[in-house]
Amino acid sequence: MNSIFEKGGKLYWLHSTVDAFETFLNVPDTVSLKGTHVKDSIDLKRIVIIALISTIPAALFGMWNVGYQHSLAIGAAPAFWSDFFYGLLKVIPLYVVAYIVGLSIEFASAQIRNEEVNEGYLMTGFIIPLIVPVDVPLWMLAVAVAFAVLFGKEVFGGTGMNIWNPALLTRAFLFFSYPSSMSGESTWIALRKGEALIDGATGATPLSFVNEGLDSVATQYGTSFMDMFLGTIPGSVGETSALAILLGAAILIWTGVASWKIMVSSVLGALCVGILAQLGGSDIPCYYHLVMGGFAFGAVFMATDPVTAAQTECGKWIYGFFIGAVCVIVRLFNPGYAEGMMLAILLGNTFAPIIDHCVISASISRKAKKIA
């Protein structure tokens, strides 16, 4: 690094930024000074890049789906490439805003704390555009990102110290601050100026009809399990295709970056409550909950965030189950808000330390009873 960026140099205030770009290009030449003389090759950059790769199928599918839903809504014939580019052009501004706002804050706070810039935001910034409605006004997104990064992460000390998943905080901020832009019929499909929905089309997601019965949406899109599994339904950009998300889950589980226990247990939790609800008279098959709305995306990419999830093995089972169960409870028993996954995960994040505390206390008292 050039000496003007070192302490005392004129451009020291750019130190963290320069360091971030330098280490981005190069594995640095730093060596282990104490402790183990050799190190595993894995580092945060590698973990983040793998997590990013795992979300790419969902992102690409989501971009195509934005265009596809647009074609359906205005009554045009869907065409693969034009749909994809329509979606791409809609999503890219979201990425630009999410990264510029988030990374600026991240770089500045790294400099203030005199630390290296943490890679964690690369993943957060990649996920944020995938979980917001595609037509969200960019200034709202900017405000939400700034709030989530500042108050969700930096005030706690940065990545690794945060309590809640920052990407979900962005969405929660949008949801509670600008509810009219976050739900309803016109939100989930991106239209150009002057375009209108064709008769009988609706921009609402199938989830919005949970309380009215599924039949009402069947006019526009199939609401068969297969449609929702493949993801050809309206919704947040990246959340619709359970298939693409499963691909990502496979990468995460195989590389060990995310915990399969959390994913499996959240599915179990959702199924359990779904079955109970079905027995109690709900007409939605329990497995529909797995492919509707943000459940799959949340369970795979957001609940598994190792910083905010439960830390212990047993705790992960409880935490995942809790999230799955709460998600379906919110969906079925709260007429005001159709999507429960965001709140379920944020609640799960909040309870994760308590879950771990209980698991550890139990383990310690079991150990104390063991006969020496």
């Binding site: 030449d29 060596v31 003389h37 050799v38 595993d40 047993c314 698991v359």
Partner: protein
Amino acid sequence: MKFVFNFIIMSNNIVLKRGLDIPINGVAAQETVKTVKPSVVAMKPTDFKGLVPRLLVREGDKVLAGSPVMADKNCLDILFTSPVSGTVAEVVRGDKRKLLEVRIKADEAQEYVDFGVQNVASMSAEDVKALLLKSGLWTSLVQRPYGILANPQAQPKAIFISAFNTAPLAADYEYTLGSEVEAIQAGVNALAKLAQVHVSVNSASSAFAKLQNATLHTFTGKHPAGNVGVQIANISYIRKEETVWTVALPLVAAIGKLFTTGKVDLCRKVAVTGPEAVNPAYVNALPGVAMKDLESFYAGAENIRIVSGDVLSGKTIGAEGYLGFFDTQVSILKEGNTHELFGWARPLRLNQFSSTRSYFSWLCPKKKYNMDTNLHGGPRAFLMSDSFYADVLPMDIFPLYLTKACLAGDIEKMEKFGIYEVLPEDLALCEFVDPSKNYIQDIIAKGIDLMLKEMA
């Protein structure tokens, strides 16, 4: 729940499922290529945790092998005796006159202090203790918790001996000490006078599985199964206000020789290992032997790091340094102070090892790697969950919680999460696999220092 299935206890056969063998190049061939005739040997007070040394000699004094050189100020009975006969050449001090090294120039012919041949069977515990203290071999006893010098007044719950090594490239005790079973048996007999002795072996066919007068345990598993701390945790973990002692196997042999020959003979086979070692093999050497005397193993190499001990918890000593008292291994590595363009993003990087599947090293499980000292990343806050670290630590503790408690200096939590059971070396693998590149062993060591200070 978490730990119930991690080990299966069948009589004294303990299978540890968690751990990691690091595939690093440079294992020592099983031949002893030379006997190092030392020119200068250094005694390093820093090898002993908790030692406040009082120097008993001056520069120019003559000493024999077994003559006292230092004592512990806190317990003047604990003597540190010279491993060679010669002349005290230099006393090296650091900041605030801290005693770093006592260098002794060795004589051509070795003379030993005669402590007399003993009949262990007729000795009392006090006699054994007195002889060990007088001969300086008491210092081979390590007291847990905290890994400090054993307190002669303490009555330990038991004495634990690990009869196998699992650390990367570590000396193979079957080779180095397989022929000294008699001496080890004599050492065990002496130690058994002090407390019950537990010996852990890695197979029933081990040369040390025949040892009498001790409880035998068989451990199967990857590193750190050979760490005595891990063995204790799985045999009978250390509770608050309990103490145990541990002795390294080569030093048990030295204790045995003291009782059977009356001499302090610390000569041991030392494995010279590592990716940068030329023809890695064993040498006969004394503790404190100079690295200069091992120059043939690294002659001409530049930009290398010489470590006394293994690559996980050894100390960097450099070409001018001296072998540690407890070490039976020297590791020679390349310094990884080079850049690698787009390193983290290059998908393959087949020459990199990772215990996770984030690299492709899982495709070639038998491959060995020329590892260097590069950090492979930058320091970050802890990101992975506790279980990521627990996967390489077969103990019933929560390593990340313990580490964080040490960072916070929260004694109550440190106690709760198992500070009594661990030494930094036990968490070395957690440090190795840590993607956040924290110096976990150093954090634990500082936690232990805090405990020593607060509990004193």
